[in-house]
């Protein structure tokens, strides 16, 4: 028999830990789809790697990277697509807004935001195993990538990766809840896709963006999803500075999400029937 928790805080923690576990298990039902995603991410990684190699052969040392750094960056960014859900979505929330099931979610005696976050962390953990490790391993086998020797780098990268997932959740949660105000959220979703894809570093490392565009891209929240964790892995950035930047965006997006949840609670009109 399971021991019942003694303190309410412990009960709350166990609840969200269990939701995260269910998120992990629910996604593990789609193993073939995840592996297919890993295959596609790897193929695109190979294509992008060749383009970056051609660029770095023409301009060695560009943006503070050498060729191996650039190839490593390329496969890391492909590996982030699954956990960080770079193409958007991943939350069932917007669908639940459309069907009206959100009303049930808002009635639950648990925070909608934390519930979704716990579920999303479970999803990210599963996709890390199936969609992050294979592209990185195949990239390493085909082109050779950097493997940090310093354990501190691994620790800071792990922290940066986790914070990146939280920033990504904070952003996608806001996009999903936008469905409470705009009837058809496909517009917001595709706008979000454009911003995330371009300003996270998925297209090219943000260090290459010229002038003001580069300066802008470095401070926007999307860089916390791909560019910053990749730089932590490559050891190209001050660790405290990078983690502080990610934590600040995570806190800001989560706080905004909490406010929007409150507003949504007042906004939701439950259609009868």
């Amino acid at each position: 028999m399971r021991k019942s928790p003694q303190h309410p805080q412990e009960a709350v923690f166990l609840l969200y830990a269990r939701i995260a576990g269910y998120g992990f298990r629910r996604h593990s039902a789609y193993r073939a789809a995840a592996l297919a995603g890993a295959f596609t991410n790897t193929v695109f990684g190979v294509l992008r790697a060749y383009i970056l190699i051609a660029l770095w052969e023409a301009r060695p040392g560009l943006g503070g990277y050498d060729i191996t750094d650039a190839v490593t960056f390329c496969f890391l960014s492909q590996a982030f697509i699954g956990p960080m859900q770079v193409f958007g979505g991943g939350l069932e929330l917007s669908g639940r807004v459309r069907t009206g099931n959100i009303a049930v979610d808002l009635l639950r005696p648990a925070s909608l935001q934390l519930w979704s976050l716990a579920d999303d962390l479970g999803r990210a953990a599963y996709l890390f195993l199936l969609r992050s490790l294979p592209p990185t391993a195949i990239g390493a086998a085909l082109f050779g990538i950097i493997v940090p020797a310093d354990p501190m780098t691994w620790i800071s990268f792990t922290a940066g990766f986790a914070l990146g997932v939280i920033v990504s959740f904070g952003w996608r949660y806001l996009v999903a809840l936008s469905a409470c105000w705009v009837v058809d959220d496909r517009g917001t979703q595709s706008l979000s896709l454009v911003m995330t894809f371009f300003f996270s570093g998925m297209v090219l490392p943000l260090h290459l963006f010229p002038g003001w565009l580069g300066a802008l891209a470095e401070v926007l929240p999307w860089s916390a999803m791909v560019q910053v964790p990749a730089d932590l892995y490559l050891g190209k950035r001050d660790v405290l500075d990078a983690l502080g930047f990610q934590a600040a965006w995570a806190a800001a997006l989560l706080a905004l999400g909490a406010l929007v949840t409150l507003a949504a609670r007042r906004k939701v009109v439950i259609q009868g029937g």
Binding site: A36, F39, A58, L193, F198, V203
Partner: protein
């Protein structure tokens, strides 16, 4: 078959015209998403004057021709890569009992003008490239032919990707590696990629005939891996060959198809 396609396309268009708002935002969205590819090319050429031996206008020419072929093929037939969704939902069974080819029904399903966004974007890039390149008429004639062959090649790949989903119903994303991967691969001069990859997309999946081989003729460039000169005119041959394979694969898929029963 063409008449049925046009009739169904017209029906879907009238349906989507009932909601002009989403239709317009999606067209703009598709234009913008693809404009990011060009933004990437622009950023690359901020740092270098030539990529794997090709200048900005030449890369834009290769991007524009491949992009136009891919966009038109995707608009007209790209929907066949949704086969697994239809199999899982059981709606493919409905298509099979109708007196119209299942392929046509799949291809035209939810036909919408929003996909014109990408074609429009590729056309703009191609127009800018052509205005900068100043090509002689003795070579320009190849451009419409290569775009047409490109459409046929991409359509065959979409069809193969669809046929693959008869086998991999739970993993339709595998097809994306070939369809959208092919669209991405052809955006850059193939000299960027390794020799083995170039030979692979010449002799196995003939993506090199979308814009690379005919493009070498239009731009009057030597082939970096020294393939015979007549390869530049072999586009129609490659397109027909791949189409034959795709037709066989699709038919084999239909023959062995079993409903999920749901």
């Amino acid at each position: 078959m063409i008449r049925t396609y046009l009739l169904l396309a017209w029906t879907w268009l009238r349906a989507s015209a009932q909601y002009p708002g989403p239709m317009i935002t999606m067209a703009i969205g598709s234009f913008t998403v693809n404009a990011l590819d060009v933004a990437a090319i622009w950023v690359i050429f901020e740092h270098t004057r030539s990529l794997a031996g090709f200048g900005l206008a030449e890369v834009m020419f290769l991007y524009g021709t491949a992009g136009l072929s891919f966009a038109l093929s995707d608009m007209l037939f790209g929907n066949v890569d949704r086969l697994s969704q239809h199999i899982k939902a059981g709606t493919f069974d409905t298509m099979l009992i109708r007196p119209v080819s299942a392929f046509v029904q799949m291809a035209v399903d939810r036909f919408g003008v929003h996909r014109l966004g990408r074609a429009a974007q590729a056309t703009v890039v191609l127009a800018i490239a052509l205005s900068r390149l100043d090509l002689p008429w003795s070579r320009v004639w190849m451009i419409p032919l290569m775009v047409l062959c490109g459409i046929v090649i991409f359509t065959a790949i979409f069809t193969l990707g669809g046929a693959l989903q008869f086998l991999l119903t739970d993993a339709p994303e595998v097809a994306n590696a070939f369809t959208y991967g092919g669209g991405t691969l052809t955006q850059y001069p193939l000299s960027v990629y390794g020799d083995e990859l170039v030979r692979g997309v010449t002799f196995v999946v003939p993506l090199a005939f979308v814009n690379w081989q005919p493009g070498l003729f239009v731009l009057d460039r030597p082939d970096p891996i020294g393939l015979p000169y007549w390869f530049r005119f072999a586009g129609p041959l490659a397109a027909l060959g791949l189409t034959a394979v795709a037709v066989l694969a699709w038919r084999a898929g239909i023959r062995r198809y079993r409903s999920t029963g749901s």
